[in-house]
Symmetry: C2
Subunit: 670 residues, 2 copies
């Protein structure tokens, strides 16, 4: 099967008004995209101007003025156009299309005769192109513009933006490389690599593949490019005055040639964008060494440096990975964009070697960190997705200032909300893939997808209340080819499932890759019902994961749960969950349509019998703990009922055993 060409057929999400994903897509279309357009055009009252569109207008000679914003401001326009393209692909919108077309027209005029297109350097530092790649994001911006151009071309068939970007790529291709007179370098923020590989899909031009390969293979070679540029700039930095020490190569994943990297280091978003491109290249070039590297990096990220919510990046300083099992809850960074990048990486790993574990992590990041990053009304966003929040400490302790108890409105130059918008509107690209005549169904989303190899437009139709409900109806509409195989992923979290084929129970296990394969024979309008048991699960963390020792987290299906003060009172640390008690569920439509909350028994340590002392000798009196009902809600819905404490991990004990076997006791039940 691995030899068959992997393809991603277009999965079209159902537009049912009560659908889980349809709701999110609607929010992005109706709120995020228009808001973002206003922001790009400096029309948000009270917000600092983005300058992003105006910078292009100035560069085009349509307006006079100075560059405004960050050095990577252009990328916001690219991400917005990409999100719009996905929206248009699902549903045409001439007005929105006109906005893009007008923007592309400005870009065309802003482009230099040789193809260069970057408003910061054009306006602010003409003549200093490519001089500070470790800090100035030129190729990163090019990458995002390129992704926008590709998506817009694919959505509308219009080539204008794509042609602009191909000219720019031609210039980049002439500029960078190992030939005499070329710059032997790469960008400080990976992104151009994965964009070039997407471009190759569209153009089939091997120069595009080779340029991506060049940037990947050159990275991390000695003598180090960033050190040379830093020296050439007199040891100066774009960001501060005065001399600075040499760039920290690990931050940019340029400390080692990429094939020799086995541990995720540095800025988490940069890292997963790099790994995404590496996995993509490994597949396209059938490079088994590079594939092994990607597998090693995948294992390191997901098995040693990932929060249970699919968040990555343990420290806000450098927004970075730290080391194996260092996953502090209350100071986590877990940036939204990093989990989005992890989803890209997972998708490329699936295409490289389809195994359910990649789809599992994709699901974990998507349903938890990524969804939690947006408020349920689509107007506010988290950049940092903590596992634990204590609002007073966030306000008063600078080590926790980055951990917000409330989402922020989206302002001028911010990476996460536009990244979220393009992901949520392109979700159909992450649902399934075909390998020859096999359709692998990775994610459970209501919608339709053409069957591979089917003539006459046969479709698979998926209908489900997932993730709140575990029943997934699968109907083959039209005539399925005789050799069609449907492979449905049995999620790693799922311990009990049932498959019914045309009303008949099928007794079959998943294969070693984690997929349950159904081979036919197929009837017209063949129906399958997959039922994944959504039991409440008590999770424990690896003993080396110090920050969560003695604690448990709750999960139901792909949704990780958390405790909030609004349900449980202040001071969540005073709670202990009784893991030997029955964990019940109850509908919670007030949170999210279809949502359920978890109810458990527990105890709360009381401060009532305490004197004013912060420490005391263990009291001989009755334990000052009162039995309480503990309420847990989906992490993706937290922070929508006012600011307050939140915790994913909670201390655990058991009425039956003693604390040390808490998790074991829980297992008796589930």
């Amino acid at each position: 099967m691995h030899e068959a060409e992997s393809q991603v057929p277009l999965f079209r999400l159902a537009d049912a008004s009560n659908g889980f994903w349809a709701r999110y897509a609607r929010l992005v279309r109706s709120r995020v995209i228009p808001y973002q357009w206003s922001a790009l055009n400096d029309r948000i009252e009270g917000a600092p101007p983005s300058g992003a569109i105006r910078n292009f207008r100035i560069a085009a000679g349509l307006e006079s003025g100075e560059f405004v914003g960050m050095v990577f401001q252009d990328s916001d326009v690219g991400k917005w156009i990409e999100a719009v393209a996905y929206a248009l692909r699902a549903q045409r919108d001439p007005e929105l299309e006109t906005l893009v077309d007008e923007t592309v027209e400005i870009m065309a005029q802003a482009q230099a005769p040789d193809g260069y297109l970057n408003t910061y350097f054009t306006l602010r530092e003409p003549g200093r192109r490519w001089s500070n790649l470790w800090e100035c994001h030129e190729l990163y911006c090019a990458g995002h513009l390129l992704e926008g151009a590709i998506a817009y071309y694919q959505a509308t068939g219009k080539r204008g933006f794509l042609d602009i970007m191909c000219r720019y790529v031609d210039l980049i291709d002439q500029t960078f490389g190992a030939k005499p007179g070329q710059l032997r370098g790469y960008d400080g923020h990976e992104e151009i690599e994965l964009a070039l590989l997407r471009l190759f899909d569209v153009t089939g031009d091997h120069r595009h593949l080779e340029l991506a390969r060049y940037f990947l293979e050159e990275r991390g070679r000695a003598p180090h490019f960033f050190h040379a540029q830093w020296q050439a700039l007199g040891q100066r930095s774009h960001w501060t005055r005065g001399n600075v020490s040499s760039p920290d190569l690990a931050y940019f994943q340029s400390h080692l040639p990429v094939r020799r990297q086995t541990e995720a280091v540095g800025h988490a978003v940069r890292a997963v964008y790099l790994y995404t491109a590496m996995a993509d290249l490994a597949r396209r070039t059938d490079d088994s060494e590079l594939r092994s590297t990607c597998e090693a990096l995948w294992r390191n990220v997901t098995r040693r440096q990932m929060y249970v919510t699919g968040g990555i990046g343990s420290t806000h300083r450098g927004e970075a990975f730290t080391c194996d099992f260092d996953l502090p809850n209350e100071t986590a960074y877990a940036e939204t964009c990093a989990s989005i990048g992890l989803i890209f990486f997972a998708q490329r790993m699936l295409q490289l070697c389809p195994r359910a574990e990649f789809a599992d992590v994709l699901e974990q990041a998507l349903y938890n960190t990524v969804l939690a990053s947006m408020s349920l009304d689509g107007t506010r966003f988290f950049y940092v997705n903590p596992l634990e929040v204590w609002p007073r400490a966030s306000a008063r302790n600078p080590d926790r200032h980055h951990v917000k108890a409330e989402r922020q409105t989206w302002f001028g130059c911010a990476c996460c909300p536009p990244n979220l918008a393009r992901l949520l509107l392109s979700l159909g690209q992450y649902v399934c893939q075909s390998e020859g005549h096999t359709l692998l169904l990775h994610q459970y989303v209501s919608g339709t997808v053409p069957l591979p190899g089917a003539a006459g437009g046969a479709l698979l139709e998926v209908e489900t209340g997932y993730p709140h409900d575990g029943r997934i109806r699968l109907c083959l509409r039209g005539e399925a080819p005789a050799d069609f195989c449907l492979a449905v992923r049995i999620p790693g979290w799922c311990r009990t499932f049932a498959l019914t084929d045309q009303g008949q129970r099928v007794e079959q296990a998943a294969d070693s890759d984690g997929y349950l394969r159904v081979q036919g024979p197929w009837q017209r309008d063949h129906e399958l019902l997959l039922e994944l048991a959504l039991e409440v699960q008590v999770l424990e963390a690896h003993p080396e994961l110090r920050a969560s020792a003695g604690k448990v987290a709750l999960r139901r299906g792909p949704l990780v749960y958390c405790l909030e003060a609004v349900d449980n009172g202040d001071n969540l640390s005073a709670l202990t969950l009784d893991v030997s008690s029955e964990l019940e569920t109850e509908p919670a439509p007030e949170l999210l349509p279809g949502a359920v909350k978890i109810l458990a028994r527990g105890w709360r340590r009381s401060a009532q019998d305490w004197t004013d002392n912060p420490y005391r000798i263990g009291s001989a009196a009755a334990p000052a703990e009162e039995p309480v009902k503990v309420v847990a809600v989906p992490y993706c819905s937290w922070g929508n009922r006012g600011p307050g404490e939140m915790a994913v991990w909670v201390r655990a004990a058991s009425e039956r055993g003693h604390g040390r076997s808490a998790a074991a006791s829980a297992a008796d039940r589930v």
Copy 2:
């Protein structure tokens, strides 16, 4: 009793070679002081030059060159002379005295004709005196030099240095104040205030008291002095180029007039130096309002923002207090100097209103954070005194870079080691005080002190193996006055004690202030034996203290204990202490003469049956925990056997009950 004048008679520490404190004093005299002198004179190979002495030589015209070091470099010389003075008071040393005299001679030549004495401004920014008090420590340096001058005068009777400093104080007195032409200001780092009050003791000159009072009362009044200076300097900073935002007044405790402050905020060392001076002034001026303020601040510091080790300052950013009950263990700052400052504050509170709680905290900070800061061989020092260390995370996670697993050698400009030196050599000032004819014995240290009101040199002689042994022999040598009263502190940690008076058991409780009062009649060579039961105690933290929820700490007498990897293996978070088990003790002379370690039963979570997953559903298999022996050692001795993990707080459970009543079960035993 409170009306009687509080005095601190000179307690002379016993010099027995095996004495607990004699050992530390010897280390400071034989290692720290000579090392520090070499450092001040730039003679430490491999260390960046301190420049401290050379700066004075250049300012004196004895050498040419440029100022070297930090803006507060002069203070190091003051602290060193102060430490030397205490050493000389205990034991004359003509060679050491000559070094000081020569240094004082240089200072005399470095002093400006008008009395000004600060090498940074004299050499680097002449004409800009007093222009940036929020950052440049001029009065702070003056304060430390002044303390050195006072101590040296008191030790040797030599007035040279004192006279220099009195001239400087005259200039400061003319410069600062509310009169026309005077600067209405104060220093960014409190210190001059407490030094001036010490000077008043020596001179009896009320100008000195009034100047201290002025600095204290002016602090925090609007319009804010630091904001005005920052504006006057064009919003520039001493430390960085470019404009900076206005000084954060809370960092300097200048956000509010000091009488209106009730919560400890900002830089912890600054804060406790300020409170020390406030308490000292309240006593000297019998100011009940100011005393109430000090009591409120004391309660806030010690009952809401203090670690169980007597450490203060929860964040390394700003080395600062954060908020009530925010006491994270693994990112604690708990600077050595801050606990030393807390000891100063406690001492002044004792003099203001002698209650055992002040002496309790003094003891807690002294025997734990302060002692732990120096290696047992006196050559290496901690600035940060963590409650938990995981060396790999300290190396790899920038949020923990400040937490070192190994003490550092002392370099050029460092505040903590010299501060420690002067404290350890002046310990006699913290042992007792007299109130009329009552001698209050606060701390249990071997040595002698003259009885108050005694003619003929009657002495109290104290002999003890404290803190490892709880027996304290108290002998009155010579003829005690008939109205003499000996008040011995019953420590807050002590639940059982016995007093034997001339061989007769005395049944008497401590008074409400925590002192046990013995009134006589006195015999010649009267002997008392106080026995404090040194049981092992299991401490729990207040339920609001989130970071230590579900955990316990061990204490024996004043010594807090900790677990180290060298005894317990790596990954201390995998351990659970069985608090229902018998906690045994065993001699541990290999750590420290007289020390004992604590042995307990516990369990260790094993990673053996884990797959490669970081999270799993609670296993139905037998709990992967093995019974282990847990070893705890005094916190003051940690980190002397190579780098490794350390933890003060450890998860607790009980074989008898379930985890939630861990501390309660422990109480059955002790």
